[in-house]
Point group: D2
Chain length 291, copies 4
């Protein structure tokens, strides 16, 4: 029997595109990982095997490379050009989504000066732009960050929590707190400088992570980070964090006749806590957490 | 300044729990990876650093291990016991979500017979149960599969698609089609035998993948797989697939003066197509695609 | 200042080559990951930037694809053809090494019968062939296996070991033993059926892993596995194993007032033990362990 | 039948140990991944299941944690203390090998100043120390680096190479060169400051990678890097590099009617070239390449 199609989409992932821009001898290197998704009237392809409306995913790749030839001034601007083109190319499409992860590189230092054309991966994580472009409507652009790993060796506690019969965790007023932040944020409108925010927002929340010295929990620090970001960046309407708790557990050295005054830790992989939350300006309706 | 918390949740990931059940000398081995999430009234923890309502994520781990002591008859049943317990333990909780990935093992064959207590990972991918348990309401249980890798060397075409100025892909009436299926399905109600479906549903869609010999696209086969599953398993109300197109590209051997009649392929990693879609019974409202 | 080159080699890794062979409607699918290395007189390339003797690594890729056009009867035979060709193509080469990892696929079962042209990854790990081909000498071919994951729920002990002031591990007479075997073996000569051994040797050592029921340690079982393989396969002169000890630790349920009679285990990732050893026939000089 | 044991060793991998040292409010954070290997008279464990001489791998873990309690002044010094202790603890041991990978962290910058106790992963790769300690002999200590990723957008060529019938690669006088360097080096003796070299050597070879502007190949740059390191660091007797060629291929935009003057590149994953080589001082006998 044949059944109707419910929600569906398709596209290309893992489009690894790099560009070199030249200002005389001084080069700029961009390194992008692009994902394209199309939603629209594609029932015939599924139900009847009729590909007449289907733009190949290989063409999405080609579109990205061809449009990159004009240079990538900003990632958000480039994403808009790709989305606009795909709406033209594929009449069946109702909405295009472009997600770009930019891997930042920094100049290799030689004789105390950043080199003109040699680079290494920059610290501080990757930058994310997610463009949602419905046909005949204004696009929505979210900014984000991935892989922002941070750790503090003091200024973090976890105590006075709910205890039941399965609770064995000892409370602590001084622990290592470590996480790899994934962040996503909404913005006020079309004139936002996403390129600047891509580095400024992570710098803001990493600084707050460092300075929030009476942290009672990952949740507590998450909220402080969100509040600091909204204070510092009026263009942001909300920010969402996903913060795994990368446990550094104090090693029990008493079997060896030793104390351990917060000096020796074992870095645990699994299991790990995960804290997710959105901090939003009053009156703003942020999106739900991802499923 | 302080800003209000929007949507938030927390929990434990990567709880790796294995059990051995003994029927005389014949052992059964279970190997689970469990994720727990709590949603509820946790604003005070975020905003004020007040942990009074916060059950530690370490306690969620402990709860899983303690409840496993009574045996794991079915994964869905175990997930319900854990969720029920956490609702009791944590009054602030509005909803518990338990996601279990079961890694299936099969008996090592010795002298033509499955061994009593020695195992190896079974082929065919992992099994998923996702339980959503709101306080004072019936739970929802979705089944799923991950990592179901399949490949066919003929019976797959892709041609007669939309062509624009960025399209260079040549059409083909005979190609390799390969994918690693991720599936999720909804069911009719509380008496569904999830344990049986966990192997029967992937067997159904893998067989259809194999037999669907006039495939015009991944989309076309996805719909055929969904239809076959709904035909074979009346307990399912909808099924969602995510199917990356793992490209095996015909190698151009003409530079070496050779033809290549569908014999030599290069296995490509990136970029890759991704096809997602839900097939649903008439009148059923399936969930949206995940964000 | 300029310094002399010491040992050096170069080549191509990650050549992902798949082939389809057709016996009427019944297809055979091969899926290989090939690594090529050349050693020889390449000082000028390093010291002077003179590429005259350097065959591009891209040409090694092309050579593999071109030679695959004649079909891949056996992996070892194909590796020999590639090595022979590279010795002809590159006069500076003193020795070619070809390492092939074959990913085995099995037929998808439909209506109780293996399908003609649809496949899924087979259980039991990958197959390895390492060919070392010096110019003007006989080649050496080693066979191997990777990723052979096995687990037993009883029949394994670890006790009566050396104890010092840093030893806290409790002895046990009944534990879970799990490992992912990596094996490599030497053979008697040119007429060995490597294709058959690639499945027969792992089957032998997995069966011994299962049956070796008075195991006192991973070391003890490693030696039993090696002895069984040498008994069963006269073509092998030695076999080397690398066996990580994938710890499944008994969970201490006493904080919850529960016992744990070998029923509930936590699967640990790190740290993990590693046991490596060679079992060899009398009078055979096996190679050293890899550095 | 029973066969003799050939070469064998055992130990613990993945010992993840972190320490915090305090100079008042200014903290120092160390993050180590330690691997221990013992070689010696362990035939009885393998052949007879006699564990009397076997120090558990869990004890090696315990030894690392216990000895870390005295602080880790230098990684090399800590490795020597662990090795010395294991020689005492396990009389059957002939040789101990300790390999430590140190993940470097840098201070998070807040208000233009490195924070006292908050850190993020530093750019530039990981640091390696490999100590080989035979009983009753002087130890050998090698230094190393892993994951030193570098890229240059010009100053690299590959042309005038050997061409055969399978060569299709076009020559280029201007390309992107990218690699992730893995390095290992030998030193003159016991008084070498390994801690300083761990950052100084990668800084040297990364600078040479940047400045070597008439690069004719990866081989050519490898040799220049090695020569520069030996010039700058008289304590080093040899240095070995493993440099994958991380291909950034110029995209052919001609199907879209566009040129591509070295501006748009596709980042390829596989296959990839691999160049390995040792640069040594005259008269020094460096070790062979690893198998």
């Amino acid at each position: 029997m044949t059944y109707p199609m419910g929600p569906n989409r398709y596209g290309k992932s893992g489009i690894r595109l790099a560009t070199v821009a030249r200002d005389g001898d001084r080069h700029t290197f961009r390194d992008l990982d692009i994902e394209v998704r199309l939603e629209g009237a594609f029932e015939a392809a599924h139900v009847d095997g009729d590909n007449a409306a289907v733009l190949p995913t290989d063409t999405m790749r080609g579109t990205c490379f061809a449009l990159a030839r004009d240079g990538i001034d900003t990632v958000a601007g480039f994403a808009r050009r790709v989305a606009d083109r795909l709406l033209v190319a594929s009449p069946a499409v109702r909405q295009v989504t472009i997600e770009v992860v930019a891997h930042p590189w920094e100049r290799i230092e030689v004789d105390g000066r950043g080199h003109d054309h040699a680079f290494r991966p920059a610290p501080g994580g990757d930058q994310v732009i997610v463009l949602t472009q419905p046909r005949d409507q204004a696009p929505e652009i979210q900014g984000g960050a991935r892989g922002v790993r941070v750790l503090k060796t003091t200024g973090s506690a976890f105590s006075d929590y709910l205890v039941d019969e399965h609770t064995t965790l000892p409370p602590t007023r001084d622990r290592i707190m470590a996480t790899t932040v994934e962040a996503r944020w909404g913005t006020t409108g079309p004139d936002v400088e996403h390129e600047r925010l891509a580095t400024a927002v992570p710098a803001s929340f990493a600084a707050t992570f460092a300075e929030h010295d009476q942290s009672e929990s990952v949740q507590h620090t998450l909220h402080a980070m969100g509040s600091a970001v909204l204070d510092a960046h009026p263009e942001l309407t909300w920010i969402r964090f996903r913060m795994p708790n990368e446990h550094h557990n104090l090693v029990d050295l008493s079997p060896y006749g030793l104390d351990n005054p917060n000096e020796v830790f074992v870095v645990a992989d699994r299991p790990f806590g995960v804290i997710e939350g959105v901090v939003a300006r009053d009156g703003v309706q942020p999106p739900e957490l991802p499923g």
